[in-house]
């Protein structure tokens, strides 16, 4: 069994506000508190690796894995530069990054590591790693989001990383850095009055959160294209985080979900969510939610009178 290769997964927002200005609004502070809770949970887990999939690190030449053992610089966000600078010093697991590249190539993907002084790590990854792993207790790697990749390529990417986890016998916390709805206000706002950009975005976000809370990751993955059409500004070809998260963590719905916080970030939907692999929930969501790795036959639900 390899289920403990994933300790748990986190879905966190990319905006810098919980790091740079948590006190600017009650909502930002609640997001910050949720990040802090997740930090404690990582510290109390058996995880020896953090894998970050960041939607704010686009790539073109295949898939890039951050492999600089000590990634250090001072970053400033393109939009929110007035909130302050973001100095960082992250410990990256270059060996695991190389393993990911090898496995990605074995599955037909173009992939490479990046290991360069002053490489510009993106706002989302910096926010996530600064808040979730501030002391570098656990090494990390960051994987880019290829701007042309669609469903199959993204799912294969997740599977390749899972291959690497299995072969390296690692125990990872998986972190997806992405908004839910990503439409921001295009005029400056008072942070204390921040809200989701539209009722429609809020409605969709809350429905997505229901799925997360039920642990229905694979169902969310199947809904990705609809989510992209409904609440994503069409900056890239697809909403990919759920595809990647599902294929990396396991393409099923057997998770315990917890929404720690859901707030507006300059109009976009920011949520901190935890998904933990569960061994006991097969069949308790839909009648056909059986194991999708090994077919164990018909469960004869009618004979058992339990419909």
């Amino acid at each position: 069994m390899d289920h403990d290769i994933i300790q748990f997964g986190l879905y966190v927002p990319p905006h810098p506000h919980p790091l740079l200005s948590p006190g600017a609004s009650e909502g930002y502070q609640r997001l910050r508190d949720a990040f802090d809770t997740c930090r404690e949970r990582i510290e109390n887990s058996d995880a020896d690796l953090i894998i970050v999939y960041s939607t704010t690190w686009p790539s073109i030449i295949g898939h890039q894995f951050q492999a600089n053992p000590n990634s250090e610089w001072v970053h400033v966000d393109d939009d929110f530069h007035y909130l302050g600078s973001m100095p960082y010093s992250f410990t990256m697991d270059s060996v695991f990054a190389e393993a990911c590249v090898e496995k990605a190539k074995e599955r037909g993907l173009q992939a490479r590591t990046v290991n360069y002084d002053a490489f510009p790590i993106d706002t989302g990854s910096i926010t996530a790693l600064s808040l979730l792993n501030p002391e570098n207790r656990i090494p990390a790697t960051i994987v880019s989001s290829n701007m042309y990749a669609n469903r199959s390529e993204t799912i294969v990417l997740g599977k390749a990383i899972r291959d690497a986890l299995t072969e390296e016998k690692r125990k990872a916390v998986v972190v997806v850095v992405s908004s839910l709805s990503n439409r921001m206000f295009t005029e400056p706002i008072d942070p204390s009055k921040d809200r989701i950009h539209s009722q429609k975005d809020d409605d969709w976000n809350r429905k997505i959160l229901e799925f997360f809370e039920d642990g229905r990751l694979e169902d969310l993955s199947q809904l990705s294209r609809e989510i992209h059409g409904q609440i994503r500004v069409q900056k890239v070809v697809a909403y990919k985080p759920a595809w990647w998260m599902a294929s990396t963590m396991g393409q099923h719905n057997n998770y315990e979900g917890e929404v720690l916080s859901y707030e507006a970030l300059n109009g976009s939907g920011g949520a901190v969510i935890q998904l933990t692999p569960s061994v006991g929930s097969i069949g308790d969501k839909e009648f056909d939610e059986d194991d999708v790795e090994y077919y164990r036959g018909d469960r004869n639900v009618l004979d058992q009178g339990g419909v």
């Binding site: 690190w57 686009p58 790539s59 073109i60 030449i61 295949g62 001072v74 970053h75 400033v76 393109d78 939009d79 530069h81 007035y82 302050g84 600078s85 173009q110 990046v114 360069y116 002084d117 002053a118 490489f119 510009p120 993106d122 290829n146 042309y148 439409r183 921001m184 206000f185 295009t186 005029e187 400056p188 500004v233 069409q234 900056k235 300059n266």
Partner: protein, 301 residues
């Protein structure tokens, strides 16, 4: 004080490959050359600029992407290293540049007065984007003039190409007003490619020119259609077809650079000078210049 003016506007694509191929001291990776058609075109434009008296280069870049309004550089000097997040293997450039903050503030205010959302960027740790650096390096490798960078507000994605065009034209007109009131002589730089579909693989030797070609014929035909309008001086028509061009070729014109420049230059009706066209990792790149003063214009290609 005499009235300021725009002395030249250039479409100046910024694939970092051209800097990599030049092997300047500032860039760490070393190449065996490549993309000569573009580079030689840039060399000729740089030589022309040496004959033109100007005070500052104003760059509109799609690689400083802002969603809350349009932002302007507002720190007098930046000295740092720019590493391209997409092509870090070929672009790690140490830069040291000066910014004309006075004119930047004036343009920011003029744009704000025109109803646009604006903000000055005052954080000294900010890294100047590689689009600005590539275009400026190729046009003025001596870096002996101050620059201003204007961010690209993402109207095309948030609203539509039509909204982007209206706002970019308004921004251009506002910048022109600020330039005229400043008394300065300014070179405008629209830093972007035309068609913008990339290959997602790279040759072991990036400068292997036996592997370089346009991504597909459709992109080429569209690029040529636009360049033909440049040559004929039909910029109103070029802007009119911009939404279709951008959609068909996923063009980097979506950022608004060329539209901004045309807005600032009053939609030129004279032929552009064409300095070169070449593909870089599949994208279509044209170097072109519009020169308002008739006796300074020439037929280049």
């Amino acid at each position: 004080m005499s009235k300021g003016e725009i002395v030249l506007g250039a479409l100046a694509p910024h694939p970092p490959h051209v800097v990599y191929a030049e092997n300047p001291d500032q860039n760490e990776p070393v190449s065996e050359g490549g993309w000569e058609t573009l580079r030689w075109g840039y060399h000729r434009l740089a030589r022309k600029l040496e004959t033109i008296d100007y005070d500052v280069m104003v760059v509109f870049t799609p690689h400083w992407q802002t969603y809350v309004g349009t932002h302007f550089l507002g720190v007098p000097r930046f000295s740092s290293k720019s590493v391209d997040p997409v092509f870090p293997n070929i672009f790690r450039y140490n830069y040291d540049l000066e910014v004309d903050v006075d004119l930047s503030e004036a343009m920011c205010k003029a744009a704000s007065d025109a109803g646009l959302i604006t903000r000055m960027m005052r954080n000294p740790d900010f890294r100047v984007d590689y689009g600005t650096i590539t275009s400026c390096h190729m046009m003025n490798p001596r870096w002996d003039k101050p620059i201003i960078t204007i961010s690209s507000n993402r109207n095309t994605h948030y609203y539509s190409p039509e909204v982007m065009i209206e706002q970019a034209l308004a921004l251009g007109r506002a910048c022109r007003t600020a330039i005229e009131e400043s008394g300065k002589r300014v070179v405008l730089v629209s830093s972007h490619s035309l068609s913008h579909r990339h290959f997602v693989t790279e040759s072991p030797l990036p400068e292997d020119m036996s592997k370089e070609h346009i991504y597909n014929h459709s992109q080429y035909v569209w690029d040529m259609a636009l360049i033909d309008l440049f040559r004929q001086g039909k910029m109103r028509e070029a802007i009119d077809i911009m939404p279709e061009f951008t959609e068909q070729t996923i063009a980097e014109t979506e950022g608004g650079g060329l539209v901004w420049m045309m807005g600032a230059m009053g939609m030129p009706e004279y032929p552009a000078e064409i300095y070169g066209y070449q593909s870089v990792i599949g994208t279509g790149n044209c170097i072109a210049a519009w020169v308002p003063q008739p006796d300074k214009r020439e037929i280049v290609l």
